[in-house]
């Protein structure tokens, strides 16, 4: 395509305009986080604080048990990711590489679970976890991940469907058992889609607010999302520490995204095909 100068200028100006919408709120959050109390509530608002107070971040971190929240979020995120990787790779492999009775019905069932609104299972799940004695523990947030999730399984299965059948047949002739074939041959091939699943899960779980809101009561069990939201609920006017901690909360998913951008861009296209 030939691009004229005029065309280029138009495209760039639209791009910059949109960038303002997507980027400015982050910038403004940062500016707010390093302001002094007086500057935050001055009008007209100041765009450059007189003295940038990076110490605001430390003060904010210490004002609430954010260390505990951060640790809890980490535990949940890491364990669910491990759970998803193990369970989804097994299940997707079963659906993609074997023929068995009721396979198509079961797979349709799996896909249809993606349509169930969260609201429908929310109440019975709460009662179920209550029965297990899991309320106010991190278990309701972690354990279900070890039983797979429909979207991740679907994603992996699509990937596995494209691998020629000769691969496991050759290994079978060599005397490998079924699990060895999965573990030694297929798992290494699945590195790219597994990375994608890990990344999507990290972002999803780290950011989750509703799960922790329903299942956790004690501050010592709070995750970052719940801790931050409750901090904001109680101290609405302490906008400086709130902004500082909001930025801290954003950092892990952004880092993960930065490293895995390639997988996300490629993976999202693969998922709908």
């Amino acid at each position: 395509m030939k691009i004229t100068r005029k065309h280029k200028i138009i495209v760039y100006s639209i791009l910059v305009l949109f960038s303002l919408y997507f980027l400015f709120p982050f910038i403004w959050a940062f500016i707010t986080a390093i302001k002094s109390e007086a500057e935050v509530f001055s009008f007209p608002p100041k765009f450059v604080p007189d003295v940038p107070l990076l110490s605001n971040f430390i003060d904010a971190w210490n004002s609430q048990p954010f260390g505990t929240y951060f640790k809890n979020s980490m535990i949940v995120t890491v364990l669910t990711t491990i759970g998803q990787l193990i369970s989804c790779s097994l299940v997707a492999y079963g659906f993609a590489r074997y023929d068995f009775k009721y396979k198509n019905i079961l797979f349709m069932l799996l896909l249809s679970t993606m349509m169930i609104p969260w609201d429908v299972t929310m109440i019975p799940l709460y009662m179920e976890f209550n029965m297990f004695g899991w309320i106010n523990t991190l278990k309701p947030l972690i354990v279900p991940a070890f039983f797979g999730s429909a979207y991740n399984i679907f994603l992996l299965r699509q990937f596995l469907m494209n691998i020629p059948k000769d691969l496991e047949n050759a290994a079978r002739i060599d005397g490998a058992n079924e699990f060895q074939i999965f573990y030694k041959i297929f798992l290494p091939i699945m590195k790219a889609p597994l990375t994608l699943i890990a990344v999507l899960n990290i972002i999803l779980v780290w950011n989750d607010y509703l799960g922790p809101l329903i299942y956790l009561n004690d501050q010592s069990k709070y995750t970052m999302a719940l801790g931050l939201a409750s901090f904001q609920g109680v101290h609405e006017l302490q906008i400086i520490p709130i902004m500082a901690m909001t930025l801290v909360m954003i950092i892990p998913p952004v880092i993960v995204f930065a490293f895995a951008q390639k997988y996300i861009v490629e993976g999202i296209s693969g998922s709908i095909k």
């Binding site: 396979k103 079961l106 169930i116 109440i123």
Partner: protein, 312 residues
């Protein structure tokens, strides 16, 4: 060691069981965390089920109450549909425009792609805090910027007329995922198609209407369905940004169900509410699918041709 006799038998037996062993985690999870709760929720919807105290079977009374005696049900439904009607088309349009922009072959475009996607990885909690501060009618920077342009900004979160728009703007911040879906699809359209059209004298707009749009209709369908479902279930932002207010102007259906369950402790009634939403989602999805044959162009044949071309 196996004798020759029992080896084949054993082999087929293993072959029959092994696949089920692989999918066993999902089957267990499906029963315990999806099917069980789903059935239980349906049963609960037929009961008066307070969080403490006695449960009582009341047949379809919850549904009757919902349709005939609870004005909040209709209000929440209307508010949610209003939100979906503004949010879904806007979100689709923005996603499509952004996707077209980031497929332009110009310098630095990848940086813009990253910028546009960035908010999509941010938690709803952070989104509501950041936008809540931007929209603040006393100290908010947004109205200050508007005032510089000579516009008097509304009381975003305080004015019942504007609160829903506020939620739309904050929700649309996460449009990046949909943008990427469109982006990969548009990028997959073979360049030769545009070249041929351009030789035939079609301008960029004509090319967009005649080539790009028809090719991506399946993706548009996918995005319409997912964003309608997402709009109907919106809860996090409403809880944190407006709490349903002001004057219940953002008391979305998701919040209605949530509050009935965890604030008013009417578990049976909330289950009935949730099931109604489930049925609406099923019907809507079916409706969109049914209508799709009229406007969705499946490119199976084009794709075959494309694959053939790639091999050369």
């Amino acid at each position: 060691m196996f004798t020759k006799k029992n080896k084949p038998k054993k082999f087929t037996l293993v072959r029959k069981r092994v696949p089920f062993l692989f999918i066993l985690p999902w089957i267990i999870g499906f029963i315990v965390f999806t099917l069980g709760p789903l059935v239980f929720s349906l049963i609960m919807s037929l009961f008066d089920w307070p969080i403490a105290g006695e449960t009582k079977f009341i047949g379809f009374d919850n549904f009757k109450t919902m349709f005939t005696a609870d004005p909040q049900f209709y209000d929440s439904l209307v508010i949610t549909l209003k939100f979906a009607l503004i949010f879904v088309p806007l979100n689709l349009l923005v996603a499509l425009v952004l996707a077209l922009l980031i497929t332009q072959p110009i310098k630095g475009i990848k940086i813009f792609r990253t910028i546009f996607y960035l908010p999509a990885v941010v938690s709803g909690v952070a989104v509501s805090i950041i936008w809540g501060w931007m929209f603040n009618s006393e100290y908010g920077v947004l109205n200050y910027i508007l005032s510089l342009l000579g516009i008097e900004g509304p009381d975003w979160l305080i004015d019942p007329k504007w609160a829903i728009i506020t939620i739309v703007i904050a929700s649309a911040w996460g449009v990046g995922t949909m943008m990427l879906i469109f982006y990969t699809d548009i990028k997959g359209i073979p360049y030769e198609m545009y070249e041929a059209a351009s030789i035939d004298g079609a301008g960029p707009i004509r090319q967009f209407i005649s080539i790009t749009i028809p090719t991506i209709t399946p993706t548009i369908l996918f995005n319409v369905i997912t964003s309608v479902i997402a709009a109907l279930q919106q809860l996090t932002l409403v809880l944190l940004l407006t709490g349903g207010g002001p004057l219940k102007s953002t008391y979305f259906y998701g919040l209605f169900v949530y509050n009935n369950a965890f604030k008013h402790h009417e578990l049976g009634y909330a289950s009935a509410n949730a099931w109604f939403m489930f049925i609406i989602i099923l019907l809507l999805t079916m409706l969109i699918f049914k209508s799709s044959s009229a406007w969705v162009f499946y490119e199976a044949e084009v794709k075959k041709e494309r694959k053939g071309r790639k091999r050369k």
